[in-house]
Symmetry: none
Subunit: 205 residues, 4 copies
């Protein structure tokens, strides 16, 4: 048997390139960032970028893919099978656990999050990646969890799964996105959003 192909560890320069590209894509957009700017910011020669990431777009994907996998799929999170596998007695428990986990990721990678948000609507590859990872790794678990919570009377029955998801994602996104655009969101803001969201999803009285 042939030995497994050696996954060489990424070079120092390669990592510098990724970091610089991330920073610039977040600030000025993918199309608004030139490879020269990336090279300068990364402290490498322009040619080096193309040694590692031909063509330019592969750099965008290289930056986004791991993040998408990690942030979109609850399964992918390290040791978080618990999150999804677990049974939650109340809707609030579920939402808070979910939020804490997602929030940790977007806070750990705020620029990646921003790049993804900005570029998703312009690049088919990103949208397909998002949908594929979500449908495969996230949606089934959400639906299972929704069913369980409905059985416990914790979740309203008059709203489709898709709209529940949309409401959850919108609230999460809003908390994250508007925190850049409008104002910093602190712990108080976050718990208020969660309280509203919980009530939104709870069965009507």
């Amino acid at each position: 048997m042939a030995p497994p192909p050696k996954e060489r560890p990424p070079t120092q320069k390669k990592l510098q390139i990724e970091a610089a590209a991330l920073e610039l894509f977040a600030r000025k957009g993918f199309a608004g960032t030139s490879t020269k700017q990336i090279a300068t910011a990364a402290g490498v020669a322009e040619g080096t970028i193309f040694r590692h990431f031909p063509p330019k777009k592969s750099l965008l994907l290289r930056i986004c893919r791991p993040f998408v996998v990690e942030v979109v799929a609850p399964m992918a999170s390290r040791g978080l099978e618990s999150l999804v596998g677990a049974d939650y007695d109340t809707l609030g428990d579920f939402l808070r656990a979910l939020y804490a986990d997602r929030r940790a990721l977007t806070e750990a990678h705020p620029r990646t999050f921003r790049v993804l948000l900005q570029e998703a609507s312009l690049h088919l590859e990103l949208r397909e990646l998002l949908r594929e990872v979500f449908d495969r790794h996230a949606r089934p678990h959400f639906e299972r969890q929704f069913d369980a919570l409905r059985d416990k009377g914790q979740l309203r029955r008059d709203v489709d799964d898709a709209n529940l998801l949309r409401m959850i994602m919108a609230t999460f996104l809003a908390t994250a996105a508007f925190s850049d655009l409008v104002a910093r969101s602190d712990a108080t803001d976050q718990s208020q959003m969660l309280a509203m969201l919980e009530q939104a999803l709870a069965p009507p009285p």
Copy 2:
């Protein structure tokens, strides 16, 4: 007295340029659209674009500004002083009226909406425009309405105005944005979103 400067009506070609730019910006982003593409799509010479919109970015602003003014400011909407001035007996009434109005605008100008969404995070001018128009024309009326609804026991008191606004905007944006990205949202979806939103904002039992 100096005669007032003659505001010449916009040329036919100028309108064609705006229309073509809107279409292309929405599809491929501002930075991803060249002025040559715009010229071709508009059926004019490239030089004509810069006669009317020097530099390129002013074309983006020309497209976005009227929309921002109209869509962000409830006051600005034609004949909608009623919306803001009126007293609503229930939270649901207010939300439905607000939604119907905003929705009408974003559905009337879906591409402008999309351009604004895509470019706002990349262009300081757009963010400042948004904030300025919102702070001037929208925020005060929302806060007045919130106060009135709280007095009637229709609105929860444990959430800040800013977070209420964020929740509302997130829900509206989600309904609009995901309808492009993820799936068409129909009347059922919309009423479900509104039902959730109403419950989210209602005072806790």
Copy 3:
């Protein structure tokens, strides 16, 4: 007999265009000045320039030609036949009279003078104009004057007419040109230059 073609007096706008072009040509050069800039500075529409001066270069010639004729040819100066026709007893008298006259002209039209200086080396038409006017109207009178002064023992005999002219022109030009470039030249400077020039041209002791 057909009536002589009516020389319409130049329009107000035409004069504004000439004035604006002169100013801009002097500051930024002919090639560095656009017709749009001229139009703006003149307060006319761009098309108006081409009604009066098609093509652009004719504007340069329109500005330079009258000046060349007036300043290069002592004959042309109003009432200055005296200058050239007169007999001067001393070299100094001749130089001072010549200088006073030329200086008056370049000081009256400093920007035209500058434009001519700047553009002469780039435009064949200007050089030909200069040479033609000079050879026709100036050179003969200078040579006649030189002869007269040599007869009176006022002018050195060991230097060709061409080099005498060059020395005179260089000194005059230097006084004028360096006054812009290096420092303002006042009356003292001018009389010192004239003193040096007189001594330069005088017969060696």
Copy 4:
């Protein structure tokens, strides 16, 4: 210790670009020469010009600066400390030595000289460069030499240093400049100009 930044030797193509630009600037002026023309004449791609000289104006400065330093500053000339350091017994010796040296330089780089002459009045950077180099490297030595010559009774005392300089420069420039513009100047012309200049600067009888 940080290694000294490696000054890479100029590329072959870079030198070709400089040479082509010099040729074209001299013939058609800076503003009248397009980068495309330079690229064609140099046999390189247009982009290559901007690799080495962004923006275009830096190419003009790159051409002029070394020349200015060399030609304006007597000190800078190789081995010419003698020129400035030396004592001259007569004014004529000084002028001839000075002229021979400057003339050698302008004849070695006639096109650079022409470009400088043409563009100095249009580009502030060039004027500042000229003045700075002159004030720093030339003026003090001239003034020292003037003093020495005055002590020897070789130089007139009734004319300011500034005007002496102006007279010298004007005569030199005239010999050089008019040789392009008007006619070739040969050895006879040059010695006649020097004779006149010597007499101009000598103390009056």
